[in-house]
């Protein structure tokens, strides 16, 4: 209904590519994080520009081609790399492409599509995450530069990126009108990666803390109109949550299939454990939740693809899909028992990776606040 045969053909190519060039390295990358060169390879194959127009080196596809990539990354169990790719294609570059000038698109989006640049998006700060209005990174105008001071944390690809799209305020005291999105390139004096952070899951990606100290950023790096940053960031967050929902539910489907297979083969007390009603019903619950949320995710993605702005549905899809992903991973561990707790079985990693979904891109609680507003509550 949502996927054409061209999408399915793309899916097979992505699947084959991931199986032969990515998955064999996954264990190593979970230890050391992935090499930057894999982005180059994704870029060569067109996977970093599926939705961008051909004149910018993109593939000219629709939103469901991005969904295909995100689903296949999730189905291949590529949590951290999948997240870094999503950050590149669905979070950091879209605002530059949508609100940026022609020159800005050529300078930052085109190399990102080729995989020559790795991009990051820097919103969260040590004292402000969910409360975006509380951010304190200040970019004060000084002639044809902004002088940026502040700290950003939990930034995916922060250590390896060539540039970050950084959310700043012109003044700490100003409200929604004072926001600016700035592309800040690595190597700009005053831009430092202070540390990379160890985390529960998503080990193959790097997560960094960034420090800006009197960092002078040319006004030419301002994305969108001055003062429009908050509004533009809200638009970005919709795409970010939509792709998070698609990836989360695809990951849940993978774990469900794995657990079904396990339960039908694992013998206990003389029969496959899937024959015990308690396991059988748990599997049914897992499958049913996934089916319902998957349908809702696709329906919402179709609205987004058509250019609608369904904030309520995207927030609901993100909330539900990431919750179901956590529940399914937890149920899977329970069904697998000791095997589920072991590193060598995929559910252990999936359980760790899934937990981020309910925090990143806006927590469960923030989703509910947004949804509440759309109901007039």
């Amino acid at each position: 209904m949502y996927f054409t045969d061209a999408h399915e053909e793309l899916r097979l190519h992505i699947r084959k590519f991931l199986a032969s060039e990515v998955q064999p390295h996954l264990e190593e990358w979970e230890e050391k994080t992935f090499p930057d060169s894999i982005f180059k390879r994704f870029g060569e194959l067109g996977f970093l520009g599926l939705r961008y127009p051909p004149e910018y080196g993109g593939q000219g596809g629709d939103y469901f081609s991005a969904v295909v990539l995100s689903e296949e990354m999730a189905r291949a169990g590529l949590g951290g790399l999948g997240m870094a790719v999503d950050v590149q294609t669905e979070m950091a570059t879209p605002p530059v492409f949508k609100f940026g000038t022609e020159e800005q698109k050529r300078k930052w989006v085109v190399p990102a599509i080729r995989g020559e640049h790795i991009a990051a998006l820097a919103i969260t700060e040590p004292d402000a995450g969910s409360d975006v209005a509380g951010i304190t990174t200040v970019a004060k105008r000084d002639g044809d530069h902004f002088v940026v001071n502040g700290r950003k944390i939990f930034i995916t690809s922060g250590a390896r990126c060539q540039w970050a799209l950084v959310v700043t305020k012109s003044d700490r005291e100003r409200g929604h009108k004072g926001y600016n999105l700035l592309v800040i390139e690595k190597g700009t004096p005053g831009f430092q990666v202070t540390r990379t952070l160890k985390k529960l899951g998503m080990h193959s990606s790097d997560t960094a803390e960034l420090l800006f100290e009197d960092c002078r950023v040319p006004v030419a790096n301002l994305i969108g109109e001055e003062g429009d940053g908050f509004k533009n960031l809200m638009w970005e967050l919709q795409g970010e949550r939509m792709i998070a929902a698609a990836g989360a539910i695809a990951g849940a489907a993978r774990i469900f299939e794995y657990t079904m297979d396990y339960a039908q083969n694992r013998q206990a007390f003389g029969q496959p454990i899937s024959q015990f009603q308690v396991i059988k019903h748990r599997l049914v619950d897992m499958g049913t939740k996934i089916a319902a949320v998957q349908a809702f995710v696709y329906q919402t993605a179709a609205q987004w693809d058509k250019g609608e702005y369904p904030v309520r549905e995207i927030s609901q899809a993100k909330l539900l899909a990431t919750q179901v992903a956590c529940e399914v991973a937890d149920d899977a561990i329970q069904i697998l028992g000791g095997h589920g707790y072991m590193h060598e079985f995929p559910v252990e990693r999936a359980w760790r990776n899934a937990r981020l979904g309910r925090i990143g891109a806006g927590s469960d609680e923030i989703m509910k606040e947004i949804i509440a507003k759309t109901y007039g509550l």
């Binding site: 061209a6 053909e9 793309l10 190519h13 590519f17 194959l45 067109g46 593939q59 000219g60 596809g61």
Partner: protein
Amino acid sequence: MTISWRSDNGCLVKIVVTVKQVPDPNSATLLESDNTLARDREVVLDPGDECGIEEGLQLKEAHGGEVILVSMGPERAKDAIRKGLSMGADRGVLISDVQLAGADALLTARALAAAIKPEQPDLVICATESYDGSTGMVPPMLAELLGLPQLTIAKKVEVDGSTIKVHRQTADGYQVVEASTPALISVTAGIAEPRYASLKGIMAARSKEIKQVGLSDLGIERGEPGETIEGIADAEARKAGAIIEDDGTAVDRIIQVLAQAKVV
């Protein structure tokens, strides 16, 4: 006719790659009651043909020209051609005719030759053998019918002017064999790693031409089969080994068995 492969003088070349849709190698092989392969299952472009297409595309990229895919099969074999078009081939020809059902190697080669001849290609690329039938006879028959020199089991191809040189895989190494174009080569899977199609390639393939032709269009008749399948037998299963239980004399008995087998 001599055609230069060097793109610097503007000459372009025409390459035909024969392709086949086969049962998915990842699924079990099933036979029909007449011992032909059951084809009503998951089907894919023969993985060996993907390598041939890749080699054709690389030659085209190096020298300019056109890559044409020619296949024989039911209507749905267009999907296999389409996959090659997604990789970058220019157009396809599908020979499809109910009279061709269960065709043997010679009929297949005759049909392919009839479809390829009017194209007047500079090079025909075939896989060494198909994944399913595995007769390996179509490429040499096709070369004969087209009146082309054939260079078989190529693992590397070099083109210089109107000379084509291949490294021909042998049990001990390889032979260097050369001919002048037009020629037919059969290639091994080692010749080139097939590329992944891009979304742009996949979408572009939707508007590329796949010409469908029947036996009458080609001006050939089915004729009597040159080969028929008389019967199918399973390969002999390995026999279970003897189990010697130890009642205190096992060592002596094992030595006896080994001595009889002339191992000790």
